[in-house]
């Protein structure tokens, strides 16, 4: 923090960005900006979360979740009402779900930038890549299978409904352990990539995954999958946590120097990354 902050558009090696229109600046940034990979991943993350919110809350209407206490006819009627939204919305989800990859890569990179072992970055990368399958895609598959044939045996539709929401809410371990891996990395880090309080916030986020566990047990009340504790409070924490790390990652990219610098005390790591790229150029 002692060193001056770097402006985002300030190139490290390539001078004179064009002073022309927005579009030409964007094109220049895309081709030459020294931090293009980082900014690309960051923007993918921002757009992904925007899309995620729109698709889950407004298009498919699966969030906030409907009640697990509904009887079978109500569930079937719910699918009838949301038929097209589910099929089209989850179609878009399948189209864009791959955006998780650069996003998780950026989070893993943040750990690479720390003074901790590479172990953390790779563990986090694999854990969160795995997480998308039970945490999001299985839910989407169950939803479209239910919406595909509205005249299926209602009991089967009800089963698909439970399957969808429980796989979505009830996928806990990957997110919990992932957050804890990130937390430990942040608390041990000496490069000040993230402030320590964000490490503690990760602990709060990990604990929300504990709190959601009763969703597997209760059909109604505060602990059901749409309950005040298991969903609403957790959602507030999740949104806050996500917002915070998006902002902090932006700051990290702004401070990034690929060597020593505003993220202090990193010559060893930064040197390694630098020599890698030099090697690649050669």
């Amino acid at each position: 923090m002692s060193l001056p902050k770097m402006k985002t558009t300030e190139p490290l090696t390539m001078p004179d960005p064009p002073t022309g229109s927005r579009v030409s600046r964007l094109a220049w940034n895309f081709r030459h900006h020294p931090k293009r990979e980082l900014w690309f991943a960051w923007w993918v993350m921002v757009i992904f979360y925007q899309l995620y919110g729109v698709l889950f809350f407004f298009v498919t209407r699966v969030q906030p979740p409907p009640s697990p206490a509904w009887d079978t006819p109500t569930v079937v009627r719910w699918f009838d009402d949301h038929d097209f939204g589910i099929l089209a919305g989850f179609g878009v989800v399948f189209l864009v779900a791959g955006m998780c990859a650069p996003m998780n890569a950026l989070l893993a990179y943040s750990m690479r930038r720390m003074s901790v072992s590479r172990l953390f970055a790779y563990s986090y990368l694999i854990i969160y890549s795995l997480a998308a399958v039970p945490g999001m895609l299985v839910m989407a598959i169950a939803m479209i299978v239910a919406a595909l044939r509205p005249h299926r045996d209602p009991e089967l539709i009800h089963w698909l409904y439970d399957f969808a929401f429980l796989s979505f809410s009830g996928t806990m371990g990957v997110f919990m352990i992932g957050s804890l891996v990130w937390m430990v990395a942040i608390l041990l880090d000496k490069n000040r990539v993230f402030p320590k309080w964000f490490g503690y916030l990760s602990l709060c986020n990990a604990l929300t995954e504990v709190v959601v566990a009763p969703a597997w047990i209760f059909h109604r009340g505060a602990f059901a999958w749409n309950g005040a504790i298991a969903w609403w409070i957790n959602m507030v924490v999740f949104v806050l946590y996500t917002g915070v790390f998006i902002v902090l990652l932006r700051k990290m990219i702004q401070r990034e120097d690929f060597r020593a610098g505003p993220l202090p005390a990193l010559p060893d790591k930064g040197e390694a990354a630098h020599s890698d790229s030099v090697e690649a150029v050669r």
Binding site: L87, G98, N104, A105, V133, A142, L148, A280
Partner: protein, 235 residues
């Protein structure tokens, strides 16, 4: 002399894998004339009753070799590592993509095998398993799309005198990504090109995957050979 690092061994698993996949593809009775989503529950149940053996053996074969593509994607990720990038982010992204399609494919594979395990169960249930299998199989595209786009981006950004891959490989990957995209919306229709037995969702998607494997296999093979030749000259 270069140490034996096994890179080539993993690479040469690719043609073997392709042969196995193609045989399994033809062995599965539901692929050559893809099963229609319009089939009634009784028809689906009848299909599983009549074709039990071929479904089982082809899917067991797929279960064994479904994950075979992962080493190839990792080989690509390692080539990205050699590109003129400042960060390992695109390499990490490709690694993050590698596990997705096989996982989804194995889920679909499991549903097919479950369907054929007790073909005498209630037709409604067999139809449910069949729907789960086909939809999962058809929508396994998200990571493949991301993988192609990321690879294309990585190649565009590989700005050096002798880039790891030629620019046409990037264009080719964009094309593949476009070809895979419609399959994501397969659940919207029972018939027509979007349906899971349709032109776009089945034929274009699967042919795109096959072409991608063949072309990227050849490109990767050439790149690895050149790289080795270079290493020998330097040594």
């Amino acid at each position: 002399m270069r140490r034996t690092d096994g890179e080539l061994i993993l690479f040469w698993t690719l043609p073997v894998l392709a042969i196995i996949w193609v045989s399994a593809f033809f062995l599965f009775p539901g692929f050559v004339h893809p099963m229609s989503p319009t089939m009634s529950a009784e028809e689906v149940a009848g299909f599983y009753r009549d074709e039990t053996a071929r479904i089982r053996y082809s899917m067991i074969l797929f279960n064994w070799f479904g994950v075979g593509l992962i080493p190839v994607v990792i080989l690509l990720a390692m080539q990205i590592r050699r590109m003129a990038h400042r960060t390992p982010i695109l390499c990490y992204s490709l690694i993050a993509c590698a596990g997705g399609p096989p996982t989804l494919f194995l889920i679909a594979n499991m549903f097919w095998l479950l369907g054929s395990f007790r073909p005498e169960r209630a037709p409604e249930l067999t139809q449910l398993l069949n729907d789960l299998a086909w939809l999962t199989f058809t929508i396994l595209v998200p990571y493949l799309i991301a993988q192609s786009l990321l690879l294309a981006l990585a190649i565009y950004w590989d700005r050096q005198d002798r880039p790891v891959f030629k620019p046409w490989v990037a264009h080719f990957n964009l094309l593949i990504a476009a070809a895979l995209a419609p399959a994501a919306f397969t659940a919207l229709a029972y018939t027509g090109p979007i349906a899971w037995d349709g032109l776009l969702s089945f034929w274009v998607k699967n042919i795109a995957i096959a072409v991608w494997i063949i072309v990227m296999g050849i490109v990767l093979g050439q790149t690895i050979r050149q790289q080795r030749a270079q290493d020998r000259v330097i040594a």
